[in-house]
Assembly symmetry: C2
Homo-oligomer: 338 residues x 2
DNA sequence: GCGTGGCGGGAAAGCGCTTTCCAGCGCTGC
DNA sequence: GCAGCGCTGGAAAGCGCTTTCCCGCCACGC
């Protein structure tokens, strides 16, 4: 086993041409190669089953065909949708995506970036949410600098990081619009299941929601914080229930959290939407089919991944670009008139 | 911008040692290096922000730190769970996972494998399902050979491919056990929402299910085939409904299909489980929280990913190993007595 | 005293490519 | 008729690392 790999040199020799010529034929260069030599090379490469050594190419060209993708948790539909968008674009561009997962540990983000830098990835999209953790942020910023310094591009999804391309969803606007829509249903008392307080995404959505309530002259909501996960939503909802809040409508800052919250409500015999309306944010596909279907703010997640990948792969200018994508309020069966 | 990357040579020079010494210090070799030299190298590496060039290392060592992961669709919870398991193990081993998606096109699998081979990935886990498509299969087999030939290891999830390590779920046994459990609920007439007929996974589950019905002396089910997706399940269910079948219980060979099917049933006013019981297969996490919760055969998906990654990374012998994981029938609210 | 080993350090030969530079050659233009 | 040009092919110099080999040094043992 372990028969050595066919090298360019072997192909060249077999075809009776120089290394340079073989290289030019097999990996499009600006230079022309005459038809018959070219044919011969192509044919022997085929016969020998030649596959170029990507590491060697990367080394010689000083650039690789790797694109990094950093997410917190690939099982979270929010991230897997974005991942699908990113991989689609990357694969179309003939690139290969390397997936890094942080498990929501802020320091992992910087570590992964460093690894990606070691691999001379040509670009990376960071889909993890920004935290307000000072230390982790500055370490990350340093890594981002080092990465771009080295010629790589980085784009962030859902977090405005200085100096990088960004696709930012209308978190604040979405939260606000949702609040308005919900107040129009007649609700007067709201609760919010917020994410960890250091997550900027969570804060923005919450801030927008509060602003929306304020627009409608409604009192600020009760806020219960929980982890950005299904279980976080479950626990936050339990806590809310225990607090004897009089809210008739609850906004979970994430669909995934809403899912956990709904489970908690059901478990406690709270009927949705009869006893309590609930809305989320993201519009992850699986929750469109649940009963009741979840009201939410739709974000074009796959498209966001595509945009991010596009930003990071199209060469781009020196200016950091920002693409805003709007969230669209979708009221479904989980919210009722009050 | 694009300040050149710090190289080992620069570190060595700055620290006043030879390239060899620097290399030995920074990338553990069998050779010893005296304490003070070692310190000096470490310190200057730190100061200069040295990060080894992974491509160069791969080239010099003739082995990379890449692990491939091939799935059909990363947004499908089935695959994203497996992916989570694989990445966890890989990252713990200090490796980097490259994610390839086939979009369910059989030929992409071979293409991706070839790309992975170009990158000299040290291993790859194939989570796509095996088809009976002759051409694609033999092309894939050739790529697998080439890959292992070159020293890489490959493991498959859920498909026994000759000569590779495999983790195979008890598809047949699971289907059979499920059939038994459902007949015990009193159902007599069954329908199956099968996957595309060329998918081996789908066929195995179906075959097991039929065997289970047979065990109980029940007539074979009506089978409607559909795509292995939510929409496939939706359409298959619609077709089933249109066929005026008298089935009181339907088995979707995949949870994801069951999800679509439930949506279809609901849309047609069929109450679950009162009018129709439904069960799936896989036990994807999101469907545990739906109403009604889906009866299914639980597969430890993340664990399967971990096992596959483990098989492929632990060196392993020459023998192809097979790890069987059992499915466990979990009856929930979507199935009722009849 | 000198030969033997063992050990830490460095020089240098690759790893498989890309790309620059040069050589040769057939043309064109004056 | 010849300088000059454009074009194709090849030799060879890297790319940044690992690893083999060799050398000098020291501690021993006889």
């Amino acid at each position: 086993m372990s028969a050595r790999q066919v090298t360019l040199a072997e192909v060249a020799k077999q075809a009776g041409v120089s290394l340079a010529t073989a290289s030019r034929v097999l990996n499009g260069s600006t230079r022309q190669v005459s038809g018959d030599l070219s044919d011969r090379v192509l044919r022997t490469a085929e016969e020998l089953g030649y596959v170029p050594n990507a590491s060697a190419q990367a080394l010689a060209r000083n650039s690789s065909s790797l694109v990094g993708l950093v997410v917190h948790d690939i099982t979270d539909p929010y991230f897997s949708c974005i991942a699908a968008g990113v991989t689609r674009v990357a694969e179309e561009a003939g690139l290969v995506v390397v997936l890094g997962t942080t498990g929501r540990r802020p320091e992992r983000e910087a570590e992964l970036l460093s690894t990606l830098r070691a691999h001379r990835a040509r670009a990376v999209v960071l889909a993890g949410s920004r935290t307000t953790d000072r230390a982790a942020q500055s370490r990350l910023a340093a890594e981002i600098d080092a990465f771009t310094e080295q010629g790589g591009r980085v784009a962030c999804v859902s977090q405005a990081k200085l100096g990088t391309d960004t696709v930012v969803p209308g978190n604040r606007a979405g939260g606000r619009a949702l609040a308005r829509a919900l107040t129009e249903l007649g609700h007067k008392k709201f609760a919010v299941l917020g994410g960890p307080s250091e997550l900027v995404v969570a804060r923005d959505r919450l801030a927008g929601f509060k602003a929306g309530l304020n627009d409608a002259g409604i009192a600020p909501p009760v806020v219960v914080n929980g982890a950005f996960t299904r279980d976080g939503g479950y626990e936050a909802a339990m806590e809310l229930l225990a607090s004897k809040s009089r809210a008739t409508c609850v906004f979970a800052v994430t669909d995934v959290m809403a899912m956990g919250a709904m489970a908690a409500l059901r478990e406690r015999g709270v009927r949705i939407p009869d006893d309590m309306s609930i809305a989320g944010f993201d519009d992850i596909p699986t929750l469109r089919d649940t009963v009741p279907a979840l009201s939410t703010v739709r974000l074009p997640l796959e498209e966001m991944g595509e945009i991010a990948a596009g930003l990071v792969l199209d060469g781009g200018g020196d200016e950091a670009r920002t693409v805003r994508v709007a969230g669209e309020v979708v009221l479904r069966a989980s919210t009722a008139h009050n």
